[in-house]
């Protein structure tokens, strides 16, 4: 449909519809609660009746946190890896503090990457997420091995592959949630 030119518009910025306008205020509660709640709910996926013979379910909480962090840098503070990780530890079955430590380290690593590789595209973000997911899962295995007898690292291969392949889906969910979050 052709829009009739009635006035000369300044080129609108892409995110214009997400800004507060007259009589259309953004909800502060939604803006804060949606990212936090989505990561916590994603961590709680393990409490659904899903039974696998080997660790197969991707760490959805981690994927969600990485998705938000890489899609909207600056939204989650650097220290947010600790509370999100400790929340995940309640449900994951790992020794308490394992995800708290690993996710904090992941957030710090992302901060360092952000200062080195400033202009990135989507595939580079995916690569970074893939490396971090692999590191966190292997680190989780190592930590589980500190406290208890742990199985072989090759056991984690299917879970790592599945998590990396599911990352784009999680980023899309984050994007949908983001547009809902910022909608007026």
């Amino acid at each position: 449909m052709k829009i009739p030119v009635t006035a000369i518009h300044l080129p609108t910025r892409p995110g214009r519809e997400y800004e507060s306008r007259f009589d259309r205020e953004q909800s502060l509660l939604k803006m804060l609660a949606i990212p936090i709640a989505s990561v916590i709910l994603a961590s709680m996926v393990t409490t659904l009746p899903i039974f696998t013979a080997e660790p197969l379910l991707p760490p959805f909480g981690l994927l969600m946190m990485l998705g938000w962090r890489l899609m909207r840098p600056g939204l989650l503070p650097v220290w947010s890896g600790l509370p999100f990780g400790l929340m995940d530890d309640l449900f994951s079955g790992q020794p308490f503090g394992s995800a708290g430590l690993l996710w904090s380290l992941a957030m710090l690593a992302l901060e360092i990457i952000d200062s080195r590789a400033i202009w990135r595209d989507y595939f580079q973000d995916w690569l970074i997420a893939a490396l971090l997911i692999t590191a966190v899962l292997l680190g989780g295995l190592w930590i589980a091995g500190l406290a208890h007898t742990a199985p072989e690292p090759s056991l984690l291969m299917p879970q790592i592959v599945l998590s990396i392949l599911l990352y784009p889906l999680v980023v899309r969910i984050c994007a949908r949630l983001d547009s809902w979050r910022l909608a007026t």
Binding site: V45, T46, T47, L48, P49, I50, F51, T52, A53, E54, P55, L56, L57, P58, P59, F60, P73, G74, P77, V78, W79, G81, L82, G85, L86, D89, L90, F91, S92, G93, Q94, P95, F96, G97, S98, G100, L101, S104, L105, M107, L108, E111, D114, S115, I118, W119, R120, G140, I143, A144, L146, A147, H148, T149, A150, P151, E152, L155, L156, Q159
Partner: protein, 317 residues
């Protein structure tokens, strides 16, 4: 994408300090997490209360989904039961006829067994079913193999109780909450179960591999005496599990180093069973070792078992 504005504090002292504070907080948080982790490594049951809290608050949702899963399975099962109903009926009737005589024999053997036990003044151990529950979730994303059971302290579940499914041993209770309990599955690498081969009572122990199978290691050195297809039951050594709970079937023979060892079928099948007993009644042993194998087993078994060999009973009568 462009660096976010918070990374460029400009000349504002306040912005610079607040950016610095977030980095300090992140580093401090990492150290705090490392401390918490070291506490939980030293004392694995330390944060049990927190985990129990997590399991309790999510249990209602998990129960709903579990009920949905069970009812869906029931619907599909009922629907598929109508396929070939007539031919199935014929085969089942044939089987029932064949089983009837075996059942009578088994009853007679049980009566005889009870009589022999009476002669020996042996009493059955107080093994009874404490509660029946369902597995409502498992740690499907962690290398620990821990599942949550839908009953807890409210039904008398205590720590270290063995948990059985309809087909065999599943694990034992490690943490108990008010309405949920956490179970260390037999497939966890931490879980060692004393077992034996049902045909001759060859003692062994099983260690989980974390991938849904367990590794059975015989207690003696040398070549592995197991064969594919051997049925393994718990031996009851150590007293944690009662003897003769169906455990596994040998699916593959491996050998790592000096230890000949075996891979066994897993408890995956067991885990997927919807209904689990804690300390089931002996009658629940429907997949039990064949009755003819029992005296043989008892002849070869040695110390540590809670049942003294009953084959001596024959000489005393």
């Amino acid at each position: 994408m462009a660096p976010p504005p918070h990374r460029r504090p400009g000349f504002s002292r306040k912005a610079q300090y607040s950016l610095f504070v977030t980095y300090v907080a992140a580093t401090a948080g990492t150290i705090v997490a490392a401390l918490l982790l070291s506490i939980s490594v030293v004392d694995p049951t330390g944060f049990a209360a927190l985990r129990t809290f997590g399991a309790e608050i999510t249990a209602p949702i998990a129960r709903i989904f579990s009920a949905l899963r069970v009812s869906t399975q029931a619907i599909t099962h009922d629907a598929s039961a109508y396929m070939d109903a007539a031919s199935k009926n014929v085969t089942l009737e044939k089987e029932a006829r064949a089983n009837r005589s075996k059942l009578i024999e088994a009853r007679a053997l049980r009566a005889e067994n009870a009589r022999l036990r009476g002669l020996l003044k042996l009493t059955d151990e107080g093994e009874q079913q404490i509660a029946v529950g369902r597995l409502i979730s498992s740690t499907a994303s962690s290398t620990r193999r821990v599942a949550t059971l839908s009953v807890g302290r409210n039904y008398g579940v205590e720590r270290a109780q063995p948990v059985r499914g309809p087909a065999g041993l599943i694990g034992r209770v490690i943490e108990v909450g008010p309405t949920t309990a956490r179970i260390l599955l037999v497939t966890d690498a931490e879980n060692l179960v004393p077992v034996m081969r049902v045909s001759d009572g060859l003692p062994a122990f099983s260690a989980g591999l974390g991938n849904g199978t367990v590794l059975i290691k015989p207690l003696n050195l040398g070549e592995s005496p197991f064969r594919v297809g051997d049925i393994i039951v718990t031996s009851g050594n150590g007293g944690l599990y009662r003897p003769n709970i169906p455990f596994a079937r040998v699916i593959r023979k491996t050998s790592d180093g000096a230890w000949p060892s075996l891979l066994l079928t897993p408890a995956t099948r067991l885990m997927q069973s919807s209904c689990n007993n804690i300390r089931a009644k002996p009658e629940r042993l429907n997949k039990l070792p064949p009755l003819t194998a029992r005296p043989k087993r008892l002849k070869s078994e040695n110390s540590g078992n809670r049942y003294p060999p009953t084959d001596t009973a024959g000489t005393r009568i």
